[in-house]
């Protein structure tokens, strides 16, 4: 059952990408208006009309499905349990995170991730409690989109995809790699495993959406053009994640070796 869904998912992404190409593209402003042309290039959203259609579809899905579910989740499930769920999901993601830390060439981050996995799986009772954070191993973001960025891959034009939401070609590809690279993707078969798989996807969606309840409604309330606002926010957020990763140049020097002073 789950295997079929798995094989369907990439096909679906492909199909939507094809649809993007067939459907309308934004017309660039004439060369006689250099300011507008510069804006157009900077926005780098040639598929804007199509993207806006998907934005509307996602917005409806969110309004009638995801958001109500997230509100129910927030209101019914007590806060400590939600935090525990969030931590367990994060802990399940550490193998992929570790792989990306290493591919990004960030040994200290890889060390943090390993220690987090070891500590939180044991002392943190299968990842329910984030003990490692208090012990000096804070969490950080790592995914294959960021890894590609660290290799110099540009994000490309903006994309807004069904279900996935705001993204770009680099991050869509990265998302696919992360899904396939996840050991849980390959673990066993059978009803229990596939049910657990669905539960993980569903909980991840609820967890992520419930943590954004306040900010998303505030953005929709305060933006004149929510689509453009999300586009800007997505890019800024990715850039800051990547910048933070690239600036994390903590030295890996054994404790017994003379330590250089950390650059402030």
């Amino acid at each position: 059952m789950r295997a079929r869904v798995r094989s369907l998912r990439p096909a679906w992404v492909l199909a939507s990408l094809l649809a993007l190409h067939v459907a309308g593209c934004a017309t660039p402003p004439p060369a006689s208006d250099p300011d507008a042309l510069a804006d157009f290039k900077q926005t780098n959203d040639p598929l804007e009309p199509t993207n806006r259609v998907f934005y509307k579809i996602n917005d409806v899905l969110d309004r009638f499905l995801l958001r109500p579910a997230a509100i129910a989740y927030r209101d019914v499930v007590p806060e400590p349990v939600r935090t525990g769920v969030h931590n367990v999901l994060g802990n399940l993601g550490t193998p992929v995170q570790l792989g990306n830390d290493m591919l990004e060439g960030k040994p200290r981050r890889a060390g943090d991730t390993t220690m987090r996995f070891v500590i939180n799986t044991t002392f943190g009772v299968l990842g329910i409690f984030d003990v490692a954070k208090g012990w000096g191993y804070p969490d950080h973001d790592a995914d294959f989109g960021m890894t590609l960025a660290s290799w110099g891959v540009h994000p490309g034009p903006f994309l807004y995809l069904p279900v996935l939401g705001p993204t770009d070609p680099r991050d869509v590809f990265g998302f696919g790699v992360d899904v396939v690279a996840d050991p849980w993707f390959w673990v066993g078969k059978g009803a229990v495993v596939s049910d657990l798989g669905y539960a993980k996807w569903g909980l991840s969606a609820l967890d992520a959406r419930s943590r954004l309840l306040g900010s998303l409604s505030a953005i929709k309330k305060t933006a004149l053009d929510p689509y453009a606002t999300f586009r800007s926010l997505y890019r800024q957020h990715r850039r800051s994640q990547i910048e933070e990763m690239e600036n994390d140049n903590r030295a890996t020097i054994p404790v017994w070796y003379p330590q250089p002073k950390p650059a402030q």
Binding site: T43, A218, T222, D225, T229, A263
Partner: protein
């Protein structure tokens, strides 16, 4: 920012002007600090004298940078406490909005932010449009901040560190709201020592004024660059938010 006797940047450039030193320590700087001479490659005595010289030469400059970052930190602490007091305090929505307005008037460089958000259209706007735009922007700012802060009770915040960046100082804070993950919020403070004003607020790496600017730019490009239409939409938005409380 500290340039101590053993600090690599102190050894490397005792004579650099303060601005360069500040830029070097700023987080956005990408120059790898690996060009420094490794301490263990020098004789201990020469290292010592170098370090002392560096400390003496740099002695006055960090003091000035420290006072700048300190005044920026103090400003953010004061402003943040005032905001938190209003948000957490009792009083009607009307009451809170009034208090927030006065805080914003005193602490935000509203005109500067407004101009930034209009981007290239500022130059195209007539003086009358500019005036109406700034007035409306002011209302939008208050209404947006009320919308963002209003829902929360029990907000707390920690001031972490301050980093000078050119003429401005970035002050890092962590905002803690009940039932929400902690949020990293960076305040960009202009002219910190003379007349500190908030120039930008960066939440989780997303700049408020940059986001606002792209929102307006997109609205204008879909409304044939009509600034009057933008002002009308802004006014409409303020009214809608006020109607919702």
């Amino acid at each position: 920012m500290t340039i101590g006797p053993q600090s690599p940047s102190g050894i490397r450039n005792p004579n650099l002007p303060n601005e360069t030193a500040a830029a070097e320590t700023a987080r956005t700087d990408t120059t790898p600090p690996e060009t420094i001479t490794r301490p263990h490659m020098l004789h201990r005595r020469s290292l010592l004298s170098l370090a002392t010289g560096a400390a003496l030469a740099a002695g006055l400059e960090p003091a000035r940078a420290d006072s700048t970052t300190q005044s920026a930190t103090a400003f953010v602490t004061k402003t943040g406490s005032a905001l938190v007091a209003v948000v957490n305090g009792a009083g009607s929505a009307q009451d809170k909005r009034q208090k927030l307005t006065s805080i914003i008037d005193q602490t935000v460089d509203v005109d500067g932010v407004a101009k930034f958000c209009l981007g290239r259209f500022w130059r195209q706007a007539s003086p009358d449009q500019q005036q109406r735009y700034i007035k409306t922007f002011h209302q939008v700012l208050v209404s947006n901040i009320t919308a963002k802060l209003g829902e929360y009770q029990g907000v707390r915040f920690n001031v972490n560190r301050a980093v000078p960046n050119g003429e401005q100082v970035q002050v890092d804070t962590t905002v803690l709201r009940p039932n929400q993950p902690p949020t990293d919020v960076q305040w960009v403070i202009g002219s910190p020592s003379s007349d500190p004003k908030i120039v930008d607020v960066v939440a989780e790496g997303t700049s408020l004024r940059l986001t606002q600017r792209s929102d307006y730019a997109s609205y204008l490009s879909h409304n044939s660059d009509n600034i009057n239409a933008l002002i009308a939409a802004m006014q409409h938005q303020v009214e809608a938010n006020q109607a919702n409380g």
